[in-house]
Subunit: 114 residues, 6 copies
Amino acid sequence: MTTVKDFNAYREKMNGKILEQGNINMKRFFALDTSTYQEGALDVKTKELLGLVASMVLRCDDCIRYHLGKCREQGVTTDELFEAFSIANLVGGSIVIPHTRRALEFWEELITLD
Amino acid sequence: MTTVKDFNAYREKMNGKILEQGNINMKRFFALDTSTYQEGALDVKTKELLGLVASMVLRCDDCIRYHLGKCREQGVTTDELFEAFSIANLVGGSIVIPHTRRALEFWEELITLD
Amino acid sequence: MTTVKDFNAYREKMNGKILEQGNINMKRFFALDTSTYQEGALDVKTKELLGLVASMVLRCDDCIRYHLGKCREQGVTTDELFEAFSIANLVGGSIVIPHTRRALEFWEELITLD
Amino acid sequence: MTTVKDFNAYREKMNGKILEQGNINMKRFFALDTSTYQEGALDVKTKELLGLVASMVLRCDDCIRYHLGKCREQGVTTDELFEAFSIANLVGGSIVIPHTRRALEFWEELITLD
Amino acid sequence: MTTVKDFNAYREKMNGKILEQGNINMKRFFALDTSTYQEGALDVKTKELLGLVASMVLRCDDCIRYHLGKCREQGVTTDELFEAFSIANLVGGSIVIPHTRRALEFWEELITLD
Amino acid sequence: MTTVKDFNAYREKMNGKILEQGNINMKRFFALDTSTYQEGALDVKTKELLGLVASMVLRCDDCIRYHLGKCREQGVTTDELFEAFSIANLVGGSIVIPHTRRALEFWEELITLD
């Protein structure tokens, strides 16, 4: 059960250090990374699915993990998740498969945490 | 008004030639490219938005154009589109901006075609 | 002599349209795209060279053109430019060569505009 | 001697879970991932080298490992492998070097397993 | 019949200008771009197919065109080419499709030039 | 304090093995990887910052670590480093954030090693 917690703890610790350094443009970028996913013309669930698929085709495991956590909070089902996986694999190609394996492993852990 | 029509005509002509050659795996890949976006646990509109954002962060103008056409058919509004744009730009970075410019130009043409 | 002017005009026109639509996160992203290159711990010339090389390895011709214009304003010499080219080609690989060809063509036009 | 076995075991386990979930497009994609490398106008050895170089320039370590295993089965020699490495590094740039280091380590383990 | 000739002429002209500037590392990189594809443990035909697939998954149209010309010189058949296309599309995803369309158009022109 | 040393040791060991195999084009590529960063029209510090940002937007952790070490040797300050980080994040997008977290962790270790 440690992967989710370890991931969140490391992410929080290092994000804190980045913000503490005080670079104004890094702080603005981090603020934008939050505001972009907030409720708007599209709902949060759709936006998190968009963030997930974008992260998958760009093959960023940590970004995938973050959005999986948010998708879980938004009530995304496993069937819906696999539809997002299928689009990411089709568009991004078979190089997305290893990230899909790791994404599913993280998702299974997220589900058991409830 | 020619960009949309020219794009569709060239795409259709060359896709036809690719399929005619008869390579079985290319044909399967094209078939999968259709079936993946069909109604399922996620609706077609959401899936087309996922395809659009994936295409934007991977910076494929022709893919963007194709999904813009589909998003228009699915009733995506300009406000919703810009939310997808904002996620694509945030996740993919400022290199997505030139593709956003061309996407908006194509979208404006799509709207005038109705 | 039209490539530079056409590029700047199209960029300005479409950026204007994107901002007019009023999506708050797109506006913030564009603002950040400006502030990030301003004088700070690193001077503007170095930052523009960083933006140029990042754009080259990510193979974004329009981004390359934009930063070439800024590099020219900052007094980057052709010898310095080629050193940036050599790093971009080494790190990004031979797929950067076609972008280097187009970058040089644009640079030559920029020089004649003075 | 554990890296090869661990890699194969994890890959097999998670691929099984992905297929079990029953998403039809993911299943088709996995089937295509197999059929595309089968004997055809090009022999399997050439196709595996193509898969290897594609995986290297896209910098997917797990994909590289998979194709290294297949290349070994097809009788690719270390000299041939290094020629594939040299093309991947040239085309993909110096960012491919770290993946080349890990690929060689995996290859050395594969050789000792015979 | 002009695309092939125009491509080759522009490529030759700009490569000449890049070399004339005299940056030693750019010259070495260009020399390496030639020597890497020469006969060795792998034959030239295989190496050009590797260069082609690498260029396709990295989605560099000009690189694709260059390697298509070389593949034609090496006697690659259309059936063999489509097998390379199928691997590039599978590994690189549906974003490779537009490049496959343009590759086929260029290939058809190359064939008529004989 | 082991990450920096482990990274350097593994890199040195595997680079040695790659060079020992004797592939002439791999050796030339490695030589070019050294000569490209040498003093020229741009100073070494600027060139290392260019290598760092290129590595960040291409998201190569090992490349980032290598250039962080070189930046440290060249006297890059933490404030300057964060300006490079801000450009890499802006141009490459939020997928660069996880690499920024790991880069900062490595940088903090580098500082303590003096």
